[in-house]
Symmetry: C2
Subunit: 427 residues, 2 copies
């Protein structure tokens, strides 16, 4: 056998196969599974009690009655059901100040928003390219970029999340000087109740970013991830998407939405919207190879849920519950004395996450003393460092109220604070 053919299996596989690593929280999850009494403030699951199981059964019964062609169990199209895309276009019009008129042919249905993000990086980036992200950003997206050999670089931002345009201009100047500017392929923003920061972009901040890019003559496309937009506690957040912001007109913008988190995590229907036809066409060509369309049943369910007004009603209900649970989490944290240990946070106005800043010297990373203490006390969180492209700062944690409530939430907070107390001795 020639030498090449004697290589181990993995060495004969693709560059992607050799580059891609296990998910960063794999070890933590394995550890968690070995401890049956563990309480998770980490998992991004939604609340089981809020899952619309009876409603979905009802919807399917209605589909069976109304669809004499039985087509909801047949193949659909690659782009997705016209009825669903029309209903999404309609849904977009209900947001306050959303002036852009979206049509069904500008929409692609995906397997959750995750597939949308993946297709999009495949469409835009070669290995070695650069994507600009927020600090912090969605850690699954950062992990995906690493797997695809793409470099994430943080936008220079202040503590409130506002971009430091002087520093940004300096970054751009350096890329130009090094002849690397063409490696930058995309800006990725999470703009409503962001995972993990829970921050929303203001209208002025959006407008300003567009103005800067235009003035600096930077043609970069922008992806706006709006996964948590529908989980606003009070009313719909008043800031429109980039599709409606004047300074982004003429620039390729892709809006990523989903029904996974706000309706049912087990149904996994997401969507992409763009006014740039080449972008839609290109994404569709890649999606045709992935799966030639998201499962038609799932689309038909969401289509009917939207059209029948059930989606809006479902949101009313879950918004109240998540708001209450997040208040409860914060009350528990205060009562447990976490703030006295130097921890703090901004109260979120939507979503199901809390982004908590620990004492400046604390390391919350996977290998840290604090993380080990939490595991000892059977409580899980998401370490903040994995949410930063550069891996720092390291003193944040992301907590979630998806899984726990009532006594178990109280108990989890007690354990978390105990670990924080014990870890405080070490720094």
């Amino acid at each position: 056998m020639s030498e090449e053919l004697k290589m181990p299996f993995l060495d004969r596989c693709s560059a992607l196969a050799q580059r891609i690593e296990a998910p960063v929280i794999d070890g933590l999850m394995r550890e968690a599974l070995s401890r049956p009494g563990i309480l998770s403030l980490g998992a991004g699951f939604t609340d089981n009690a809020l899952l619309p199981v009876e409603e979905v059964a009802e919807v399917i019964a209605e589909l069976n009655q109304s669809q004499i062609s039985r087509e909801h169990l047949q193949y659909g199209t690659n782009q997705g059901r016209l009825g669903l895309r029309s209903a999404i276009a309609q849904w977009m019009r209900h947001y306050p100040n959303e002036e852009a008129v979206v049509s069904a042919d500008q929409i692609v249905i995906t397997n959750g928003s995750q597939q949308g993000l993946y297709l999009n990086v495949q469409f835009l980036c070669n290995p070695g390219d650069i994507v600009l992200v927020e600090a912090p950003s969605y850690f699954i997206f950062l992990e995906m970029l690493r797997g695809m050999g793409v470099h994430a670089v943080s936008l220079p931002q202040d503590d409130a999340g506002e971009i430091d345009y002087e520093a940004f201009a300096e970054m751009v100047a350096q890329w130009k000087a090094r002849g690397e500017i063409q490696r930058v392929k995309l800006i990725y923003l999470v703009s409503y109740f962001a995972n993990p920061s829970t921050r929303c972009w203001s209208f002025e901040s959006k407008q300003m970013l567009g103005d800067f890019l235009n003035e600096a003559q930077l043609p970069w496309p922008v992806v706006e991830d709006a996964a948590y937009r529908d989980l606003s506690f009070e009313r719909d957040y008043p800031v429109p998407s980039l599709l409606s912001v004047e300074s982004f007109q003429g620039r390729p913008v892709l809006y990523a939405g989903t029904f996974t988190k706000p309706y049912a995590t087990g149904i996994k229907v997401g969507y992409l919207i763009s006014s740039t036809q080449e972008w839609i066409t290109g994404l569709l060509r890649i999606k045709a190879h992935h799966d030639f369309g998201t499962a038609n049943l799932n689309q038909a369910i969401i289509e009917r849920v939207l059209e029948s007004g059930r989606y809006a009603k479902h949101l009313e209900r879950i918004r109240r519950v998540y708001a209450a649970k997040l208040r409860e989490l914060q009350d528990c944290l205060v009562e447990s004395g976490l703030k006295d240990l130097g921890w703090d946070w901004m109260p979120p106005e939507g979503g199901l996450l809390l982004w908590v800043r620990g004492p400046h010297d604390l390391d919350t990373g996977l290998d840290s003393v604090f993380c080990k203490k939490c595991l000892e006390h059977d409580v899980l969180y998401v370490p903040g460092d994995i949410c930063f492209a550069e891996g720092n700062p390291r003193h944040f944690v992301r907590l979630s109220v998806g899984l726990l409530s009532g006594e178990s939430l109280k108990e989890a907070v007690k354990r978390f604070t105990k670990a924080a107390q014990e870890a405080a001795i070490h720094y």
Copy 2:
């Protein structure tokens, strides 16, 4: 603005984006949509009348009752439900002569078998690599390879589909001589009622391929696509998968199955099985980035359909119907006089396709006179040339009985034969 930044949007996108083309039958489909009276013998759809719409509603009601945790609408795991994977492992044991014992941890659940094939090419191949395919092979797979920049090369086969091992050895010798042998990454076989040839691989043919690869010391992994295996007309086809063939023991083999075609095309649940742990691990890492797991609802439905014995019962029913429809198609073709025009075929023993050989001089390609005649007469088929890696021979067509039956099937055949008569004048 620098010159690079003035480039059109698409020119700034990835190599993949610039390479990938519209699906080859896009033009045909668009043409079809503009003709409301058209009858399709082309579409790979299943029969609407056979879709288990009442049963799926029943299954969901049962899930709602039995799953007190409501977890079927919650996120699942990346690899897929343990219950479904166990049920698939159990299902594998029911096939005759299938001696390999598959365990749940060797199985990955995918969005139909299409995603499985895509993940697998991502895992094994870089652009420029070579995949060996049958002649003919599944045209969607060939198209996917082109999009990914991978070259498909046909195995040398005789008219019955048996491999010509002398010619194969010669191909291998040439790759070695040119230093290109390491570009060959995979052999892809469609082994049961293949799309499009409807051929099944015999036990001896499988054993012989393994022997050849072993003797030639070729370490190539093999993907066995068994998408139509459960659509056997009589009883389960007696030949086991490569997982159970002795000459493939020790070689990386990936088996791709699906419930899309045999149960419901709108649910899209497929699966991959491999005894090579690195292969499973690698596929899972890529799938985590695609979507972190197939929609849990779809998996829960199929799990219950399998466990409750409904799947086996469903197969009994649809096998009878497809067998009858394919007999009807063949009867109509004979009655219409197609054989007198020099056309012929092998009667299939499973599936829903008929692979028909036209007169040797006929061209059935998308731009051919024959194809135009068929469109004029409002009837569609899949041109055979797109099913060959090298684009020839060009005198085959793939017909399907998925969509049509009774009078519409008769009418479609009448139109097809009329086109064949008119095209016969041109050669």
